[in-house]
């Protein structure tokens, strides 16, 4: 197999040669080279972008963004920003060393100067950025990609560092993968109709199912059957985040729930599934156990919720479980400015903070050092994604539990499992 030649339009060629400035040229050349390496025959116009590349991984990423700025580049489509390494709202503090903090801050500034919206959230789809069904977009951040493809029905691959912003500036993305309708058809059927209905209606159901689904399916496209009613967007958000952490899930379908799966047959494009997975209660219990990494459950040092970022409804649930009680162990509640503004307008952040909740905005506890270093520390979370990344990224072992258990454990200072919601 030899790599494809990407056929650029005369306009695209002119931009790559510098007709709109050095920054736009660099972006167009990067998109075209990515297309060549991915085997795309052409570039597609895109309607929007969500940029994951403004999270600091090293000085070179900052210098790259600043070179685009110096070259006069601007995004040519709507572009929202995923989390950065710093909470610019000042709600929470982090432990980045001075050099890293300065470079991370310069990076965030450069992305603002490129014309990106300062959303700083991994849930842009709950911050008003919802591309229309069937439109091509270039989104980064695995949970946002899964939600965009699956729940909104817009079309994106998993765009990562450099390519996300290059696509946003060029207004183009390589035509391959999930942009193409034939690659969006489900080939694996995941049947959950035999799972205990009491579990399916619990608040841990969707992150646990997501973890199971991601491990079973890898990077295939699957369709879930056996779900009776729409579980709500926050549930689908938690499912997609867990599935995109444990596997490489960019698109999932749920028969009767997600827009490309009005029924099973449509999701499978009328064909028989290549593989059929019948989910049992044992598989569910196994997945729930896998989300915890702590060998003992006799202490809890912190509670973290909000991966993906909490919606206002999820703060409602937190407050109603907390009932104004003060916590002994801090609850880190990660969210975006779109929710923070509403909490502040209603005086709710101050109330939560006075009860010992630490609101974290613009970032989260697994992408930047916020949790204090502590040997043998244990984090309790209800997020399938935090459960996946907490140990490697923070050193905290994980106890996975429902939101009710998280809150009761924070209040009592001891792990409490089986609290009533």
């Amino acid at each position: 197999m030899t790599l494809a030649v990407v056929n650029l339009t005369s306009d695209e060629r002119a931009i790559a040669a510098g007709s709109r400035g050095a920054g736009a040229a660099m972006a167009m050349r990067i998109v075209a080279e990515a297309g060549r390496l991915m085997g795309a025959g052409r570039l597609l116009p895109i309607a929007s972008a969500h940029i994951d590349g403004a999270l600091y991984h090293g000085d070179s990423g900052t210098l790259f963004a600043e070179k685009l700025v110096a070259g006069g580049a601007r995004v040519s489509v709507r572009a929202t920003l995923n989390v950065g390494a710093i909470d610019l709202t000042g709600c929470s503090r982090n432990l980045l060393p001075p050099h890293e903090r300065a470079m991370a801050s310069r990076m965030m500034t450069a992305y603002r100067e490129l014309g990106c919206e300062q959303t700083w959230t991994c849930a842009p789809y709950q911050a008003g950025h919802r591309p229309r069904f069937g439109t091509d977009v270039a989104w980064g951040e695995s949970n946002a990609v899964a939600f965009c493809n699956s729940v909104l029905g817009a079309r994106t691959n998993r765009y990562g560092d450099f390519l996300d912003i290059a696509c946003a500036i060029a207004g183009r993305a390589p035509d391959y993968g999930l942009h193409r309708p034939e690659n969006r058809v489900a080939t694996v059927l995941v049947d959950v109709s035999r799972v205990d209905p009491a579990f399916l209606s619990s608040d841990i159901a969707w992150p646990v199912l997501g973890n199971l689904y991601g491990r079973e399916i890898g990077d295939s496209v699957g369709v879930i059957s056996g779900i009776a009613a729409h579980p709500g967007e926050d549930a689908l958000k938690g499912f997609g985040a867990a599935a995109a952490s444990s596997g490489s899930v960019g698109l999932f379908h749920i028969a009767g729930v997600t827009p490309e799966a009005p029924d099973l047959s449509t999701a499978l494009n009328g064909a028989q599934p290549v593989e059929r997975i019948v989910v049992t209660d044992d598989m569910v219990r196994d997945s729930q156990r896998r989300l915890s990494t702590a060998e003992r459950a006799d202490r809890v040092d912190a509670v973290a919720i909000g991966s993906p970022h909490l919606s206002l409804e999820e703060f409602d649930a937190l407050e109603s479980l907390l009932r104004g009680r003060r916590v002994k162990v801090p609850i880190y509640a990660c969210t975006g400015r779109h929710v923070l503004a509403q909490l502040d307008a209603q005086g709710r952040r101050t109330a939560l903070e006075s009860n010992g909740v630490i609101v974290v905005a613009d970032t989260c506890i697994v992408v930047t050092p916020i949790l204090p270093s502590k040997a043998g520390a244990i984090l309790m979370t209800n997020s399938g994604k935090f459960a996946h990344y907490a140990l490697p990224n923070t050193g905290y072992a994980v106890l996975y539990a429902s939101l009710a258990d998280c809150v009761e454990s924070a209040v009592s200072g001891r792990p409490t499992i089986g609290a009533r919601a």
Partner: protein
């Protein structure tokens, strides 16, 4: 031994020792961008440094931030002398595409069937600009 690789990204002719990875690698989380050492203790080549070596990669796994780690290695002068992939990985190679745009000296990337990797392991390798791979010793 001499074998023709397919040039994925051009670079200068190379003369360097080979480091053949015997398991898939995740650059983000699996490679220390400040030293180029393989940082995942579960990886069979844990602790080996990529810098200055012809790194033969059977497969890549993991995050879309692999490109950021590779760019950072180039920026710090810790890049491999060449990257030889069984399968082209656009996300990883994007790190070299961006490095080139940044004006950094970038190593070539080639495709070669992994069946050849064991013959290269630990040997001194030359790679021509046209992608001809030869063992010197």
């Amino acid at each position: 031994m001499t074998v023709q690789g397919e040039v994925l990204l051009e670079g200068p002719a190379v003369e360097a020792p080979a480091l053949t990875l015997t398991a898939p690698i995740s650059f983000w989380g699996g490679v220390d961008a400040t030293t180029s050492a393989i940082a995942d203790p579960r990886h069979p080549e844990f602790g080996q440094r990529l810098a200055g070596r012809v790194v033969c990669v059977p497969a890549t796994i993991g995050s879309s931030s692999a490109s950021a780690i590779l760019l950072e290695l180039v920026h710090r002068g810790l890049a491999p002398a060449a990257i030889v992939l069984h399968q082209p990985d656009a996300i990883l190679l994007l790190g070299l595409v961006v490095a080139r745009e940044m004006g950094y000296a970038t190593p070539p990337a080639l495709r070669l069937d992994a069946a050849h990797f064991s013959a290269l392991a630990g040997r001194a390798i030359t790679i021509s600009e046209g992608g001809m791979i030869a063992c010197r010793s």
